[in-house]
Amino acid sequence: MLQIKDLHASVEEKDILKGINLDIKAGEVHAIMGPNGSGKSTLASIIAGKETFDITKGEIAFNNEDISELNPEERAHKGVFLSFQYPVEIPGVSVTNFIKTAINETRKSKGLKDMPASEMLKLIKQKADLLDIDRKFLSRSLNEGFSGGEKKRNEIFQMAMLEPKLAILDETDSGLDIDALKIVANGVNKLQNKDNAVLVITHYQRLLDYIVPDFVHVLIDGRIVKSGTKDLAHELEEKGYDWIKEELV
């Protein structure tokens, strides 16, 4: 589904990614772990299409199509979703109205008419129930005054509504207590199936107890230096990142 080959990227002439290779197939859950500043969030943003980074070398293919020249909304229309570490607050626009806009914009890109209101409401109700979201929450302004947990749950709600093929979860566990973490992880697991894929980006192993990855990759200084199964995550949790760095020397 997602194939990244020898990806190099920089911002203001500072190299951040220095040759990333990653192959994610439908039905798989991958995790990228790494210390702060290793380039994890940059990789997530680049896959989603953020233009502040320059791709200097390599390619990003999504379902065998090069997407590196597409803008973020075009990638979204093809099924790429990024759950943000710091979602943006949009005062005056309710969660419901926002998600309606997002869904109908995506439908428009496919030449479809707006989703009928009744169908939309049914879908919203269904997904909200799935994530244990209170109906009152849906009429609040998007992310405005939301707690950390509410913001993340709202991200996963949007993911549930948009039904992406590839969901990238950038530090979804940060700022969550254990109960919120379980709800969010549970939601992701319910949405996971053989036709879609999840890329979890995290500093800590904690989230991976709940969203169990098929593959774990360690990103250090812009390169994936080690890949393995979920056991690798446990090893990192016990020993930290230093032993890998030492191994590399």
């Binding site: 943003s45 989603a48 299409g49 953020k50 233009e51 502040t52 803008n71 973020p72 909304e73 990638r75 979204a76 229309h77 790429v80 979703f81 990024l82 943000f84 979602p87 943006v88 949009i90 005062p91 005056g92 626009v93 309710s94 419901t96 109205n97 926002f98 309606k100 806009t101 997002a102 869904i103 914009e105 995506t106 890109s109 209101a117 949007q158 948009l162």
Partner: protein, 437 residues
């Protein structure tokens, strides 16, 4: 003949026509002299540096329109906030329309300035308040010289007015360009509460030049909630001169919604005369084409322990220009003042301009004052967020503009007004975010 000469030479005839020995005869005579001395302001004056009136002074304005064209309710109904849930004082070309107005009430005065000036029972109030807060600048003086009609609202002590009062000025100008000089006097008694909406609406393509003066007096613990809707067509200009005098513990709020017009100039002045006053000035400006708006605010902190909050947001497209000239003056006696001023602008097009000039003059030593001003484009992170949800960049920008302007609406306390303004904003910006849900 220039407009100034025409005005000055018309004055005597105008005064002659007034029926009585008006109690304000002297005030009028002095005012016309001031106007004659000063004339219309020019860009040479510091306060008018960014706003030129030249473009609207050349029309041959009719100064004393007769009301010969009735307005059908069905044509203007859309400009009213509500059919029954508001009081309405409606003027057509400066003349009161009893047909369109709705002022049925008791225990307070919601009537006409002309009545207040001519009936003896109002003498005491007129003498105590009329022209007492207004300044001596040339445009205010021009209004003072010619004003004979407007809203007169006097709310007695402890009265909570149960529904908002709309003051609406329609200009038909069917025959020619028209100059209007409406004058409102609003006296709000101790612990009384009132909500007022003021709107000027041209119904013609002819040039309309409105030079209005509103004086508001808020007694102790009074609450005045005032909304100005400026969404006029591109041949209508307004100079709005508003003066608010506050006594102890009063709270006065003015929201100014500037969405359309040729030249809009708001001279909004607050004078805090008692302790523990709160003055709140909010504005949303959304302009395009060659529209021009100039917000010229003054908050004069005279007494100690008062607050003022200013929050003006502007979105400028096309060749539109904006000015924010906000002055906070803290007098020597006004210790423990908290004065805040915020002015944020987004320039949507390269040809749009904003001139922002915050001024703080502080003569007391124990005060907290701040001002912030931003002129920017869109937040890239926010745009990226919306794009990753499949929302194309144009729509994403519109949503962000909507959110930017919307934050000022939170303090609008009339739900129907909030809904209307919200709709106008969405319309202006071109967002369709399904207000039905």
């Amino acid at each position: 003949m220039s407009l100034k000469d025409k005005l000055v030479s018309s004055y005597l005839a105008f005064e002659d026509h007034l029926e009585d020995d008006s109690p304000i005869h002297d005030i009028r005579s002095k005012a016309i002299n001031v106007f004659e001395g000063k004339g219309f302001p020019t860009k040479k004056e510091e306060a008018w540096k960014y706003t030129s009136l030249k473009g609207i002074l050349n029309d041959d304005y009719c100064l004393f329109p007769k009301r010969d064209n009735d307005v059908e309710l069905k044509d203007v109904r859309k400009y009213f906030l509500h059919d029954i849930d508001t009081f309405k004082i409606v003027f057509i070309d400066g003349v009161y329309s009893s047909f369109l107005s709705e002022t049925t009430h008791d225990s307070m005065d919601i009537c006409l300035l002309s009545s207040a000036l001519s009936k003896s029972k109002y003498n005491a109030v007129v003498e105590a308040y009329y022209n007492k807060a207004a300044s001596q600048d040339s445009l205010t003086s021009l209004n003072t010289a010619f004003a004979k009609e407007g809203a007169y609202i006097c709310i007695p002590k402890n009265k909570e007015v149960e529904k908002p009062i709309e003051i609406i000025n329609f200009a038909t100008g069917n025959e020619a360009a028209l100059m209007l000089q409406p004058r409102n006097l609003i006296v709000v008694g101790e612990n009384a509460h009132v909500q007022i909406i003021e709107r000027h609406q041209s119904l013609t393509d002819h040039a309309i030049f409105t030079n209005s003066v509103t004086e508001i007096f808020a007694d102790k613990r009074a609450h005045v909630d005032y909304y100005k809707i400026q969404n006029d067509n591109s041949n209508a200009s307004i100079i709005d001169n508003t003066y608010i005098e506050q006594q102890r513990e009063s709270i006065c709020k003015v929201h100014t919604f500037s969405f359309g017009g040729k030249i809009i100039r708001n001279n909004l002045n607050f004078y805090q005369k008692g302790e523990y006053c709160d003055s709140i000035l909010k504005g949303i400006t959304i302009l395009k084409d060659k529209q021009h708006v100039d917000h010229n605010t003054l908050v004069q902190h005279i007494a100690p322990n008062c607050e003022s909050h200013q929050d003006y947001k502007g979105l400028y497209a096309g060749h539109s220009t904006g000015v924010f000239n906000g002055k906070v003056l803290v007098e020597k006696e006004a210790q423990k003042t908290n004065a805040f001023q915020q002015n944020n602008n987004i320039l949507i097009d390269d040809n749009a301009t904003i001139n922002a000039k915050p001024q703080l003059e502080i003569f007391a030593d124990d005060v907290k004052c701040s001002h912030g001003c931003t002129i920017g484009q869109f937040d890239e992170d926010a745009l990226f967020y919306l794009q990753t949800r499949g929302i194309a960049i144009k729509e994403a920008q519109a949503l962000l503009m909507y959110a930017f302007a919307n934050s000022v609406l939170e303090s609008v306390k009339i739900p129907e007004l909030e809904r209307r303004i919200n709709k106008i904003i969405a319309n202006k910006i071109g967002v369709n975010i399904g207000f039905d849900v």
